[in-house]
């Protein structure tokens, strides 16, 4: 059976309740099409991770999908603090999630260790700080301190992470799942390769030949990929270099809506539960904000060229 399928099918088949998910996207390329589908399918008790989490994680937390969060940071960036996250931690709405905190150096390295099949990785940060005094569900397995066997200096070891599933959004992939990404990378490549299964959401499916015209852009090879879903505009309101810019107006709309639990629920009703899929969402976006606004976000792009730096 082929790997190309709808996002609904990919999430339905490969994301189970209680799974550990890596969700790619560092301000850029958040896989929102899949995030919305996870919320629609009411997945529960997920453990989720990424460096610098943002509105996508905030939404999953607010929608009640998340049990545990291996975190480094979460905010809405320009728009301020992540309000669903804060409501969860401060007031237990919709429920209190468990968090385990690392940093934007240690977490990518822990994912790299997972991808490389190593049990742990030495890290040079976190030493001496209160980050080491707190732990929740990982308990004593959050980190270990040893004396380096080579020079005796104190070294922290952090455990490798091996998510069950990684969901990433990239510019293009072929039907077998060779996934090509360009622009700011964050921890996407390592998070994807650390996982047992990868769901690739992409702006466009291209031929294997097109992939071959610039193979250095491939961050995940086909054999790791279980599903490929074509979702144009799939990372909105984040940006996808070469396809569309970040949507500040919509980002602000989310920030305003999510500042109260009621506003957040209404937002979900309109933009997630009320939509069948991403095509419906895009249509709704155009109806609500106008085609000119949609067009304004789009990059100047030559579809015939395999790689574009336009944004």
């Amino acid at each position: 059976m082929g790997k190309v399928m709808s996002t609904a099918e990919a999430v339905g088949r490969f994301v189970g309740d209680g799974d550990f998910l890596f969700i790619g996207g560092y301000i850029c390329r958040p896989p929102f099409a899949a995030i919305h589908e996870i919320i629609r399918q009411k997945k529960r008790d997920l453990t989720v991770t990424r460096s610098n989490a943002a509105d996508d994680f905030d939404m999953l937390i607010g929608a009640g999908c998340v049990k545990r969060f291996i975190s480094t940071f979460i905010s809405l960036g320009l728009y301020g603090l992540a309000r669903c996250y804060r409501r969860s931690i401060e007031k237990g709405i919709p429920h209190k999630i468990e968090i385990e905190e690392y940093t934007n150096l240690s977490l990518p390295l822990m994912l790299m260790a997972g991808a490389l099949g190593m049990p742990f990785v030495p890290v040079k940060d976190m030493a001496g700080t209160d980050l080491l005094k707190i732990s929740s569900f990982m308990g004593e397995k959050k980190y270990k301190q040893i004396d380096s066997p080579f020079d005796g200096s104190p070294v922290l070891l952090a455990p490798a992470l091996r998510p069950d599933v990684a969901i990433i959004h990239v510019q293009q992939a072929d039907e077998e799942g060779n996934a090509q990404m360009w622009g700011i990378g964050g921890d996407c490549k390592w998070g994807a390769n650390a996982a047992q299964k990868v769901i690739v959401s992409c702006e466009r499916i291209v031929s294997r030949e097109t992939v071959g015209t610039d193979p250095s852009r491939t961050i995940v090879p086909s054999f790791k990929v279980v599903a490929v879903t074509e979702e144009p505009f799939g990372a909105h309101p984040g940006y996808t270099p070469g396809f569309y810019d970040v949507d500040l107006t919509y980002g602000y709309l989310y920030q305003q809506a999510s500042s109260t639990a009621e506003g957040f629920d209404k937002f979900l009703d309109e933009w997630v539960y009320g939509m069948k899929d991403r095509a419906g969402y895009t249509q709704h976006f155009i109806q609500r904000f106008g085609y000119a606004q949609f067009k304004k976000l789009q990059a100047k792009f030559d579809y015939g060229y395999p790689v574009s730096y336009a944004y």
Binding site: Y26, I89, G128, L131, P154, G183, G185, K189, Y309
Partner: protein, 253 residues
Amino acid sequence: MACCGAREIRDKDLVIVGTGFPTMSANIAKHTHAPGASMMQESGVFDARPARPALSVGDPCLNPGAAMIGGLIEVMGMFLQGGWIDVGFLAGSQVDRFGNINTTVIGNYDSPKSRLPGSGGANPIGALAKRVLIIALHNTRTLAERVDFITTPGYLDGPGARERCGLPAGTGPEVIITNKAVLRFDRDSKEAYLESYHPGSSVEEVVKLTPWKLRVSEAVRETEPPRAEELRVLRKVLDPLGMIRIYEKKGYV
């Protein structure tokens, strides 16, 4: 404040910057006394040439024209942990007299008064950049004798503490630049003391707004006001959109 930050940057420094203030400081330095300085964003970009000021470290405008784009492993791993980054800028919700920074929680960790975003790249930058410049608003809420939670290490609890827990020797915060003053860290006690107060402020005001018994340098002086060239670069070259107004409104300028 942006000019004070710029003056801490030396020619040929490799600087890791966030958006807004740090970028302005690094760019003022680059356009004035430190043309050889170069910048990196933790998201993976080296030597970006954006057409407009970036709104975040992941802003797509950083892509075209950059010399290199990688990811967190490249910038935070290879370059920062690898020991190549000279200067990092940090801000925090709370900063204490040893330059420790809190961006995790106000109040108790388990039942917080206010939950903040967490470390992100701050801890590794504070741990591993050779010199760290801290930016803070000068009031008794932001500055603290002791932070509620050490997210990012300054000098921890005093001299030798960084080295004892394995952080690289000779690293640590260099200054706390506030909207009122420049505080530098005493070589022996590792405690922040008053080096200069900005025009319009005074030693008395700064001491009053600092919640620990702030020591005042014998050579305390007024901060040199922004030079004409620094202001020209800031307003005309770096900030044609007038983004500095946002910072002026927040009290940072």
